[in-house]
């Protein structure tokens, strides 16, 4: 029984990781932009959940508001800053988005302060399912997992089956040709970036009730997201999903079975994958 629950833990953690990492892999794969500030967007999401829930009285009203704000923020950033970097070396994207981390973290400190906060689980989902005689599972965690699955399906559908998705895919494989076909590639890029930001913010908001809200929380998820993107293969949503689940398993079972190696387990996994598949699981070499 214990092992079954650990598997549930792994899947649940993996799905949450996927939600955060999916925005990064989209931006990475479609636009070719390395976005170090992705963790900051997750942090912004968590703080938005805290501030907006306090303002509006409920996480349910805070969520759509937050997503709209995030989308707008993404558009502004893309138009003002990111769009100037497409033709330049990845390194400048690294530098610029690193600068953004400092800016966002300090803005957070000025606007909301440096205290730690909690966000209440919405009353509707504030319950637990008994699993064993003394252990039960919070419904909200299962809800997060369900949301992640729905979103994964939605993203897959949008990219593979819709006209918009087709344009996005075309833009990713050959931007100039797509432009020549009369599709406004700049608009597509702005849209994808904003969607990526909105995904990270949404992940931060929905995770806030279980993760709590604290300074520096963005940096913690950033590295793990990069690891996921690399293991999965850059730009591959399917790869990101599988990598997230793999990391969920390695992290959970690593802590239980090999506590001495728990710190390095995730990185070890990444190194091993790259030894055998230098472009990640589903990446094009």
């Amino acid at each position: 029984m214990e092992w079954l629950i650990q598997i549930l833990n792994s899947v649940q953690y993996g799905l949450l990781l996927f939600l955060v990492a999916s925005g990064l892999t989209l931006i990475f794969g479609i636009m070719g932009v390395i976005n170090l500030a992705h963790g900051s967007f997750y942090m912004i999401g968590a703080y938005l959940a805290f501030s907006l829930a306090e303002l509006t009285g409920s996480l349910w009203t805070a969520l759509p508001l937050g997503i709209v704000l995030a989308f707008a923020l993404g558009l502004v950033l893309e138009i003002l800053l990111i769009s100037r970097l497409y033709r330049r070396d990845h390194l400048y994207q690294v530098l610029l988005t690193f600068g953004l981390i400092l800016v966002f973290e300090e803005m957070r400190s000025i606007l909301v302060g440096d205290d730690v906060h909690g966000v209440a689980i919405p009353a509707l989902l504030d319950a637990s399912l008994p699993l064993t005689e003394n252990l039960s599972y919070p419904v909200y965690r299962l809800f997060i997992s369900a949301v992640c699955l729905v979103l994964a399906a939605l993203m897959y559908f949008t990219i593979q089956k819709t006209r918009l998705g087709m344009m996005v895919r075309a833009g990713a494989s050959n931007a100039e040709m797509t432009q020549a076909l009369g599709i406004n590639i700049r608009w597509i890029h702005a849209l994808v970036f904003a969607a990526g930001v909105a995904l990270a913010v949404f992940a931060g908001m929905i995770a806030a009730p279980v993760s709590s809200v604290f300074p520096g929380m963005g940096n913690q998820v950033l590295i793990i997201c990069f690891v996921i993107v690399v293991i999965g293969g850059i730009g591959s949503l399917k790869g990101a999903l599988i990598a997230s689940l793999l990391i969920g398993f390695v992290d959970t079972f690593g802590k239980v079975l090999l506590p001495e190696l728990a710190g390095v387990a995730v990185y070890l996994l990444m190194a091993i994958v790259l030894l055998f598949r230098p472009a990640g699981l589903y990446g094009r070499p």
Binding site: G99, L100, V103, F104, M270, L275, P278
Partner: protein, 334 residues
């Protein structure tokens, strides 16, 4: 990066570089005469970081291998000194330095050998992953003080004449000499057939391979050399501070040195040094201005990317060029 400049790089411009080098060394050599002790130590630290940035420049700017795990080599050498140093006596530099450099070189060799075929963004991430492993090794084991770090109680001794590295002034000149040495050494390396081959690989690896260059071996050599030089910087840092902490190996240290390099301008040796100086001095300046100095620093970095496409060194070149040609400013627009 410096492609458009290449045709202009004649012997004349080499003479200019030499002049700047001599001037720079002279300025640093007389600096202690006018500086307070704190600024002496600050410049010592910056010079050490310059060596660190130079070592990364060899990789990123010349060999085209972008590493986000360079701090691992820096940190491993620092820990090597801390672990090899006797409890109360001064460690002998001639014994501990080679040991520390060897440690960094071996780690670099092993890492590169494992990921020999990864490139591009994957290489960035794989270096990060290995660096994190080394970080957790020192953070999670009690071998070297864990997260609280470990002391190097006494600075290493040089065993030459009356040189006493425990004195900050003597140590300053040692670091200056090492920096100048590394700078000149890299200058020579880069003009050697080996260095030219590296730059050729960066520009077009397939062509170089077709020409019969064992490109993987060249890149391996560059990686190990860069790792060893980073170790040199790490050794000096541990000797200066007398304290080594796992955070020296953390990914944000690797990020910081990459920032310095991009800020100063990659692919020029001066760029690395200028980057280290300007990054640290800017931070010094901003943090004296306001509690929210990180906002200034972040905004500055964002602006620098937008306005200074080739780093501060590139800015200097542009100004010099503009003055010489007194042409319109169009050609330096980003």
């Amino acid at each position: 990066m410096a492609d458009p400049e290449r045709p202009r790089r004649s012997t004349a411009s080499h003479r200019v570089v030499t002049w700047w080098l001599v001037l720079g060394i002279l300025a640093l050599a007389i600096f202690p005469a006018i500086a307070e002790k704190f600024y002496l130590q600050l410049i010592t630290k910056i010079m050490i970081l310059s060596i660190f940035a130079l070592s990364l420049d060899l990789l990123v700017g010349y060999a085209g291998l972008v590493s986000l795990g360079h701090a691992a080599f820096f940190g491993v050498a620092a820990y090597a000194l801390a672990l090899a140093a006797p409890a109360s006596d001064a460690p002998n530099l001639w014994l501990t330095l080679p040991l520390a450099l060897a440690a960094s070189a071996v780690i670099a060799l092993v890492i590169r050998a494992l990921v020999i075929r990864t490139a591009g963004v994957y290489f960035i991430m794989v270096t990060l992953a290995f660096a994190q492993m080394v970080y957790y090794f020192f953070h999670d084991t009690r071998l070297a003080g864990g997260s609280d770090g470990i002391y190097v109680n006494t600075r290493p001794s040089l065993e030459i004449g009356s040189i006493d590295l425990a004195q900050d002034l003597h140590f300053y000149y040692l670091v200056l000499a090492v920096l100048a040495g590394v700078f000149i050494f890299l200058g020579i390396i880069l003009r050697s057939p080996f260095g030219r081959a590296l730059q050729g690989i960066k520009a077009n690896e397939q062509r170089m391979r077709a020409l019969g260059f064992p490109t993987l071996r060249y890149k391996l050599a560059a990686f190990v050399l860069a790792g060893t030089l980073a170790g040199l910087a790490g050794y000096l840092a541990a000797a200066k501070e007398g304290y080594v902490n796992p955070e020296l190996l953390a990914w944000h240290q690797s990020g910081m040195v990459l920032m310095m390099l991009i800020l100063g301008g990659m692919g020029t040796l001066f760029g690395a040094v200028i980057g280290a100086f300007s990054y640290v001095l800017l931070q010094e300046w901003f943090s004296n201005l306001t509690k929210h100095w990180q906002l200034l620093m972040g905004s500055f970095i964002v602006l620098a990317v937008l306005v200074l496409p080739r780093g501060l060194a590139g800015l200097g070149q542009s100004i010099a060029l503009r003055r010489r040609s007194s042409a319109s400013s169009d050609d330096v627009e980003p």
